[in-house]
Symmetry: C5
């Protein structure tokens, strides 16, 4: 399915850095949740925009998650308070961004795509997640509620794993890791769908399967478009030039990079596979056509000649007109001989087709 | 549609740097408009060539927009006054240029393509825009009147956004940004057209759709040719080696670069999609052929054999000639038995086709 | 065949570095074997996990081979004792890894794929092997028993070749070399299979061959996915930046790199070849269809016109009704003339087809 | 058309640097013309080889043009006198060279392809031009008379443009520019041919058009082969590492590089376009086949069943034999009813085909 | 034709550097010939292995050519004496090597493929040649007798060209040059074969041609595989980092590099061309099918309807049964009118087909 290209809705009159929300505006009220923790303390609350500003300069690690980015005045307020560049805010609101990383003086800005595979429609659902990493704060922006971060929330709450012991950079890594880990679920779903299509193809190459493969292929192309830029993002994070990212987190980022490459590798393999399925479909169709034509040709080639003979002796030439007028009709064995001729034509044809390996 | 390649009309006798207009000569009289402003003052006027020369050394920011580049003596006059290299002038007049950026001692020269999508003809209309950026002056050359700069003009007039507060380099960026922003409109139009074709394909793969897809694909190829070189242009602008471009503008140029990459990404995806549609069309046609052949084969394979039998007993062999001459005709149940044989042939055939899954 | 993509089973709640086995859990009990040797001494034994820890600091070369990686507490114990990073352990357990090399402070971690070609199912069987190379120890992790290292074991036992005289890095190289050498067996098997398919295609392009080629092609794609990353691994080993690898081993690593390139080259050639076979199949099918249609067209075009004539004179218009009512039927030579007309139609058709080169 | 690959005729016994002419030997007598000029003086003459040697050390700019390179002793004489390396001479004579640039101690050697499009045969005619650029001398070698340099000659004669004011490097640039400018004529011709083919395709996709497209495509492939290496040549010239090329000429070389890229871009677009045309042709053919088959299927599917019914009642079973023997024939309304049955079959079929959208 | 992949026969038990011959073992006895020369002296002889060792330290240039590499003890003896690394020896014996160059402390090792085109089988015959270049010695290893070096031998014998005046590096270059020069013969043969196929295709696209093109294409793929790595070899030789290669030889190596690029360019063009031929074949087949179907459809569509009419009036309804029972049969002009109807159907059909441009 060709996905409608949602224009950057900013009407051409907007100036650069002007904030216009370009995503789905039917989203509900913006919801801000705060996780504030260090190795020993932990608090979790839903806050109003004003309340969240106090966390900016706290020495503890703060994770601000914002669900719903359509409330522009609110976004501007947050942006002003956390000293976010207006272009960054514009990028957060533009939900057609490629995955990218940008290093500003006081923060790192990361955009990635959070993917979900909808098994019913066989479509990959794409949601944009923006992360802002500052000294001891991570702000995550999501288009709507519902995400893949539940396990991270649990780990923070329970103090499991490293996350409580490490800095904000590790938290940012954890969020990215959760998103990339989720890609594997999509890969699994696609691989399964491909396998099912292949099986169906072998059984009975119907027109519906063609459309299903075509749809799968479109999804793979969109997936590819979403995943490739991620490679540069993770490679950049891993490169060690970003001050806000510490050495102890870097080894995990290398792991993240590996996972990204693994995802890209698989997407490319799936692309090859889906092309292979299309080829197989076309060949199957050609083959089936051959089968059909063979049956037609066999039937027609055998019966048309003998039907002609039958027709010949169905002519009404008057035997009485002359002795040249259909004398066979009155010969005692005429009928039997004609049957014999027909039989030998049939046998001859069968031998001919046998030799051609059409039988 | 294959677009005619307009030769660089400079007849081979022209020497390098000789000015010959290579675009559409039916353009109207050249029109020069001047926007002269700084943070506090602003003036807008249409001027004669002579009048515009006074703006060269004014400390305010001047935007000279020239619509119509076919008046060569005028162009030479402007070139001489603003100290533009003759090769630059030649490039401005050559409307088949690739997008490019060239840094001269006292100015930066940028060529880009301004695209418009004509919904009626489903064609991308390409117009070349050349920009000359000097210390405090931007000169823009357009083939004809009508452009995508209206919002920028409004912002200058109303002092909205940053444009009045910043330097000429930001103005140049704003013009480029407006052009690239417009590309998104084209992408939207193409994505819509692709989606519509896909839907039609699923409904009824007619020959007209094939031609429509072929045309779309040609447009995408031309779009691709226009957009790719832009990547180098914006990357070069962003790289920080051009003195005329200040650090405060550079962050916006990075944003421009991101948008360019986004456009290129989408164009590539569209290319993949249009190829996919062609494949789908071909498969649909093959499939439909199969359907047609199946009906033919079924009809023919069932009726040809039983028609033969009917023909057989339509022969006029004289039953009186001998007892071997069509004795069936006089058997009491001959007719019923023949009908029975025919019926069993039909049933046999139907079972055969059922087994082959052709029914 | 599309291989199911086995998800990284780590449920999304796992934190990075948490150990979850993601391979086939039906594997048997973990088995640890130790080869401990230097130029003069040699011992071989199967040990318990606790026993194996003593080898960590021995000055002799120790090869610890671990078959079965599903026993997570055991893996953690080994990891702790040999100071293996938790991410490394996670990678060892994640059997969907790409081949990769990672240099840690005190060890080098290498993941490669060990391939086996199953002649019966015509499938490439992929098993992941992880190597840990420390100062004087090599630890190899395999998913299950059965490997390609038998000749190396023999060489260590018998003191043949260089292996006893050199360090642990040479042992690691030997293991990698044995794995890559084995790839050549797979290439041989695939080349053989391709050759056989090609032969069959020339003989009789049946539908089964199409599926066989499709399957082969899928295998080649998977092989390609497994082999390409190996290039970076061997190139990195060869580059001379890893302290644990001595100069005397490096010349062998260059050789290993050459072999890897050779494998990749061949895989690419096979890909080309399999595409060629698919093209050939499609062309064969088209060609065969042509043949079939020719026979049908010839038969039909010759007999349908003359059958019509026969049918014409089978009409029952009453000659008595008027002299315009089928007077031919009573002409003395009517029958002979009709036969003559039919014959000339047949001859005319044959000449026509001869000219068209369809005969 | 596949162009015969003319072997480097040097029989394998020739040693490197041995001169053997590998082009068309039917060329006429070698003709040497000299343009000797500076800003004030100018002379033009046809000279003998001996006469041309005097120009080597004159301070004026000298352009030696040599038409015909088949006279090997003459070439050797010239080579010796102007101190040209024997490998350079070998390259000049080998007319299958790729475009290339080689910097020797005392001269720069450039090989390019001069292209002409022959409208009658629709073929691109390729002639090799070699340039030797020394301090104040340009020697050009052409396979035969007739070139694209007439406008340059005129400009030198008339002192128009920069050429008389500048050095030998600018003359060399001018020659290259004239050759590349000429490529645009070829692009125009090809674009025109492609457009014409596309139009014909839409009208009537005949077999001749297929061959025409195939031929065009071959020409584009050869053009591509000729043009791509030129990119490196002009990039190298532009790079500023060649001492013999002054800074004032370099800005023109950048322009030349741009033109080369423009040519390559267009050639690639044409390649895409010609592939698109082939796809369109194939689809048209498939579509047309569909049309044909539909007509056949419709006719056959409608008439074969009713013909059977007609045949059925043409059987000669003797109604007198029993009351089961074709009683219909004697029913008063039998004939009308049979006609009715036939009519309802026809209508049924038409509805069926209408539903299938085949009508 | 898919060439069997000859496994590196070294059974997996062999240790790295162990010598096992992997080529065709049916080769005859190893033959060693020595060319020993300097500018003034020259000797040529066939020697035993022992005799050849004396040439190692002679100040004259020595070319040792060894035909037949299957005698492993002999190879080991030579290797030991000339201080050749065991991995180099292993590579010499492994006849499935890619072309490569390796620089050792005291020698340079080069592997290339010597190609011969067998016109009878239309196959490229590949033989591996290994060269060892030391200070003043070149050792060449060939799989079997018969090579492309005859002209070099002649030049050494007769003192023609530079070879006697220069060092061992020039001799090595000469051997490589002779091998690459020979590639041009192959290109010529392939281009000829392609041209011939294209001509045949235009005449009559038979199934044999398809197979011939497929075979040619396979050969081109193998050729490509053999030629591409040569690029790196010659580029490395040319780069000036190898001490054993003098500056005076380097200019010739640049020439060799150019030739290699020329060969690769042509191989790529041939690949494109052969793909084009396959496309042309498929289109031809489609086209021909169209032709065939048109004839069938025309014949069938014209005659089936009128045959039905004839059949209709061949029915035996008893006119005596009622006045609705085939009254036409007794109308005086019934027959003539039926003939008229038939004629108008035929004419109508012809007009229909004419309009569809099928006639």
């Amino acid at each position: 399915m060709i996905r409608p290209f949602r224009m950057r809705k900013k009407d051409i009159g907007a100036f650069p850095g002007e904030l216009i929300y370009e995503g789905d505006s039917s989203a509900k009220k913006t919801k801000i949740t705060v996780f504030d923790y260090d190795q020993n303390t932990f608090s979790e609350q839903e806050v109003t925009p004003e309340e969240c500003f106090q966390f900016k300069n706290k020495p503890t690690i703060t994770w601000l998650n914002i669900d719903g980015i359509h409330d522009i005045p609110l976004m501007e307020k947050i942006g002003r308070h956390f000293e976010i560049h207006s272009l960054t805010l514009e990028d957060i609101l533009n939900t057609q961004q490629r995955a990218k990383i940008e290093v500003y003086e006081n923060y790192v800005f990361i955009v990635v795509k959070m993917l979900k595979y909808d098994h019913d429609t066989a479509k990959v659902d794409i949601e944009q997640v923006s992360l802002i990493l500052t000294e001891n704060c991570v702000i995550s922006f999501q288009e709507k509620e519902g995400d893949v971060f539940t396990p991270i929330r649990d780990r923070i709450r329970q103090g499991k794993g490293r996350v409580r012991r490490m800095k904000a950079d590790y938290l940012a890594y954890s969020l990215l890791d959760a998103i990339v880990d989720n890609y594997f679920l999509i890969l699994e779903a696609i691989s399964e769908a491909l396998g099912k299509r292949e099986e169906e193809l072998t059984d009975n190459p119907s027109y519906e399967i063609l459309h299903a493969i075509h749809k799968l292929r479109s999804e793979i192309i969109y997936l590819r478009k979403a995943v490739w830029p991620l490679r540069d993002v993770t490679a950049n994070l891993d490169r060690g030039e970003i001050e806000l990212i510490g050495d102890d987190t870097r080894v995990f980022l290398r792991d993240l990079y590996d996972h990204t490459i693994q995802v890209i590798d698989s997407v490319e393999t799936f692309r090859d596979m889906s092309s292979g399925l299309l080829d197989l479909y076309l060949s199957s169709i050609s083959n089936r056509m051959n089968e059909i034509m063979k049956v037609l040709t066999l039937t027609a080639s055998i019966f048309i000649p003998i039907s002609f003979i039958a027709g010949l002796y169905g002519m009404n030439f008057n035997p009485a007109a002359s002795k040249w007028s259909m004398p066979e009709l009155n010969t005692p064995y005429g009928y039997v001989m004609v049957l014999g001729v027909m039989l030998s034509i049939v046998i001859g044809m069968l031998i001919f087709f046998k030799r051609k390996k059409w039988l």
